[in-house]
Amino acid sequence: MTTLTTNTLSVDLNLQRREFSLQAQLTFPERGVSVLFGHSGSGKTTLLRCIAGLERASGEVRFGTETWQTGQTFVPTWQRGIACVFQESSLFEHLSAQGNLDYAIKRARTTVSPAEIHQVIEMLGIGHTLARRPYQLSGGERQRVAIARALLNKPRLLIMDEPLSSLDDKRKQEILPYLENLKEALSLPVLYVTHSMQEVTRLADYLVCLQDGRVRASGTLQETLSSMDDVAGLGTEAAVVIEGEVISHDFQWHLTTLGFAGGELRIRQHDRVIGTGVRIQVLAKDVSLALSEYHDSSIVNLLPCQVDAIAAADDPGIVLVRVLVGSTPLLSRMTHYSASSLQLEPGKRVWAQVKSAAIL
């Protein structure tokens, strides 16, 4: 086992149920957002609940130098110094929004200063809700209050179990920016469960893919997403996420140029300041490969690259091809027929045509 620092969570759990088994051995980074990704029934929520101590599997759970579970030892949830945001509203109905926050503040591990309270309320934009009772709040407001309540509890580990899944798309888009802000502002590790690729690409630093109760892949977002075995099951959602920055704006053609390790991408104009670091998502279905540098197509982005690997996708007629632009991996989704007629093979030099890319 790796050396553990104060906020490192490591689990080695085993759970056998009648129609489901979970087996996971993982060490999470000590800060940033670790996303547990998988379809329903993959065991991601069960794993999260075992980490929180809400359910008990056999095995070990350690946090920093503390042992939360091993053999006969089982530290109860309330002594673990964690806070949770659940799938649906978990606010106490008998208390106002303010009452819910006070409940957490009163039981926080360390004193919460009025400045911190103010900051959290501002960051989540819930100032106007404080006097109201949970049933008087919209779904989005309830989840924001629940997030604020979790933060004000001063947890050492923040656990979020599909916090957006009970909301409609509009509300999701309303909360995602708050979560992104939060991610920047927090120094504690966050465990986030979701089945939404959009939430993965926007929030994850570290990604764990679960399938049928087994860990299929884990690693940094970039590593995991570009490893084709892990994304093959995603179908048209397969994508890579590239860390880059805004290089220039072209006001005549309303384009923005983004730079990343190995090349540049031009996308529709964006209002971010030059030099800002951005996350760029490129879907595999938006990347096609050509053997020569065609300039007679409508596609703006043409990147020289080298085929790295080819793998079967979810459909027998489709393959995923990973190419390296410099050191940056891109995925291309194409028919098996195209890959074969272009005679693609690892090491071959090709041109990647990137139809679109999005800043997350």
Binding site: W78, Q79, F86, R109, A150
Partner: protein, 230 residues
Amino acid sequence: MEFGLSAADWSAIWLTLRLATLVTVILLIITTPLAWWLARTSSRWKGPVSAVISLPLVLPPSVLGFYLLITMGPNGPVGQLTQSLGLGTLPFTFAGLVIASVLYSMPFVVQPIQNAMEAMGSRPLEAAATLGASPLDTFFSVVLPLCRPGFITAAVLGFTHTVGEFGVVLMMGGNIPGQTRVISVQIYDHVEALDFAHAHSLSLLMVIFSFAALLLLYNSQRLAGMGKRG
């Protein structure tokens, strides 16, 4: 005589109120953990335990009273125990009446509390635990306030049901003034003596009291329901 009631009537009223209050308090204390267990367990004992608790709902009070009399009597196991402890036997005493009433009114107190706890679900408990609340803290800060309507219903039903019992009292407690002669027994005595005037006064009092208590209960439930819907 006040309100058409004799001193004996007043003594019966006072005894009944004392009995019902004591029984309600005892029931709230012992049924809370019991309801908690029933609401949350998946044990195979849940069914048998629920059935035993609910027996007084369907059995004739005389059957319950009869068995209590036998068990607590000088030759019964409980009677032997109380005698060996120097407490004498319980039948025909106020204490015996309290024990009988606790058993007789138990289902009326357990069920509303259990229903409230089941309706609450486990999510509020999990939320409290993840926020660092100990189980005891959670009970007072989350369970009690969220299940308050259930506790109110339980208290009102337990109290009124104890006030209204007759068969068990007669079997177990008999008819001792100031000890076991509660209102219902007093009414019975009046009727036996063809004293319909006094029977009327006391009966009317019972009707008014029961109606008022139930009205209070249903109104409070309606208000609680409105508060939840907003």
